[in-house]
Point group: C2
Chain length 342, copies 2
DNA sequence: TACGAAATCCTTAACGTTATCGATTTCGTA
DNA sequence: TACGAAATCGATAACGTTAAGGATTTCGTA
């Protein structure tokens, strides 16, 4: 007994006018009398009329929907990004369709096609770690659908991007340890892919060189999964060195807190014996004991900026389809948050 | 110079056949010859034809999209739920449109209308704390759009629900403290709304009564925001009591870890002096020091179950519109995860 | 009174797809 | 050869909406 949806047709019939007039009345066209406008609106309210956005999208250009593809959702950083995106989208009257790539390039391709099929007005994406080639973006390029990449981007792909300066972040983190008096600074780094961890590693080395502290490869350990357990284990290895480090820069807060607990379990004290700096300023950095000094990564702002950039782009292309498109790259600032671990 | 989208019309023209035949060929209708089917499919591949799902949705019933409304996204539990939902939806060929209520009832209403307008096939929702009345769900009821409520539900609203037994969870948590030898067990509870914290409080009391330990109101503190800082502060108050507690059951892991750090900062030891149990099994419970004993709340499974229930419902109603609908309430199991804090 | 401008509403067509039914062709069989 | 069943394809209409233009009415002014 599913009731049929109220359409303009119903309103028109009840009022003895045509669908066109109803449409115009609801959209406040000047060629409709005040009287009918009122009648139409009243009845629309009464019947709880809701426009069928599918039909609208079919008729006019633009679906007022943007697609978002991220590698995973159970991640403090991405949750924040999504939050930023959704709030801006809401403000500008756009819906957000979220798709997960699960860090697989195959999946990423599938989701792009699906979003294209849904006629999204634009796509925001943080690339899967696995993603090397960019051919699955061709369809978006070809149809002139705006793309904004954030966080995990591809250097060669020409589009708007929102990122942070990982090199600078790593540099600031390491420099802070140096300022705290550390002489032997270890780094628990991430994998070669994505580029973020490479950048942080670069920054770490740069700060060492600048301070005339030699770079010692034996003080660098590499994670695969970048989680708490790896941080714990790799830190234990660092502690076994003949001369253990007096400072550690971890590629993420998870890894940093893992290291922190490994040190405590080994009977050493943080920050007295060893100081630690993490990366991201996620929740666990605030609640560890002692709380973790870290580099704040502005997830919410990244989301907001990306959404604004995309929507701006969408509306510009709609207004002026022949506009010459010059891609921007926005680098948001990170900053150090000093806490008890240093 | 936006290229126009390839439609069936293009394929038809190039092949000298009609749109109808193209449609049938692509959908493998029996009344199309093998030869044309092959030709159509080849050209469709070549031109990278992607069906316009808006047009399809307009024509056939069902948009293959489900709406999801949650209070907030930056929350470990909800991220997990979303993950469960997305994975099941993906498997069954549904898209997920996520909307945030920001814990406001006004916003919730707006999002429901928006989802209705988008012609979602069903809605999954975890209610905003603020939400008391249910009239904004009328439009979904009226049009027979399936609704699944999870986590934060309304008792009087008749629909499919997926929840956990908070009373039992609280009971198990408190009982565990009793088994560990605690005699004075405090509880840092959540607000009166949503009902979850009330249930946990009930369970706490039940376990006390059963063990012949008197319920002492002075051992119960109430949070408003349910975060780390509140846990820290309220625990400090508990420590100031003439006879401090020897066990604490916290309504959430955030609060639990806050309490844990307050105890450590006061120079006491966990679990030797005071034992703590949290609730949810979020990430911070695993990485605190010592790691927090907690009640595992199966977010991922809640998401999966909810999505399955909804999709099942959607497909059933499509097949048999007159099916008599009997709502189910699924209660998922929680269990204690023993860690270092007890 | 009569003409034309202004106001108001409607007709038509279109967006892309698909279900229904009708039209045509092919081909086997009596 | 002729009839009809089977195979193959197309014309039409419909989903709900809106833009462009046409049709009608109203009304002021010469």
């Amino acid at each position: 007994m599913t009731r049929h949806r109220i359409t303009m047709k119903d309103i028109a019939q009840k009022l003895g006018i045509t669908v066109t007039t109803v449409s115009k009345a609801l959209k406040d066209y000047p060629d409709i009398s005040k009287a009918t406008k009122i009648k139409v609106r009243q009845l629309a309210d009464e019947l709880q009329y809701q426009p069928d956005s599918q039909a609208v999208a079919l008729r006019v250009k633009g679906s007022k929907t943007i697609g978002l593809i991220i590698p995973e959702i159970v991640h403090y950083f991405f949750s924040n990004v999504i939050n930023g995106i959704m709030n801006q989208a809401e403000l500008k009257g756009y819906r957000v369709l979220i798709a997960l790539s699960n860090n697989s390039m195959e999946m990423e391709k599938k989701q792009i096609n699906l979003l294209f099929s849904t006629k999204v007005d634009g796509v925001m994406i943080s690339l899967a770690n696995e993603t090397k080639s960019m051919t699955h973006f061709d369809i978006l390029k070809e149809y002139d659908i705006p793309v904004v990449m954030f966080d995990k981007v591809n250097e060669d792909f020409d589009t708007n991007k929102v990122i942070i300066d990982d090199v600078k972040g790593g540099y600031v983190a390491c420099k802070h340890l140096i300022m705290c008096g550390c002489k032997r600074i270890a780094h628990i780094r991430g994998p070669k892919n994505p580029l973020n961890s490479v950048g942080r590693f670069e920054g770490y080395k740069k700060a060492l060189v600048e301070a005339n502290i030699g770079f010692d490869p034996s003080l660098v350990k590499e994670c695969m999964e970048v989680n708490y357990d790896e941080g714990y284990q790799l830190c234990k290895e660092l502690l076994k060195l003949s001369i253990p480090p007096d400072g550690i820069f971890a590629v993420s807060d998870q890894v940093g807190v893992g290291a922190l607990n490994a040190i405590k379990d080994a009977g050493l004290k943080v920050p007295d014996d060893i100081k630690i700096v993490g990366f991201s300023d996620s929740q666990i950095a605030q609640v560890s004991n002692p709380p973790l000094t870290t580099i704040h990564q502005p997830g919410y702002e990244i989301g907001e900026t990306s959404a604004n950039l995309l929507i701006e782009d969408i509306e510009l292309r709609k207004k002026d389809p022949d506009h010459v498109f010059v891609s921007k790259q926005i680098i948001l600032d990170t900053h150090l948050i000093k806490r008890g671990s240093t």
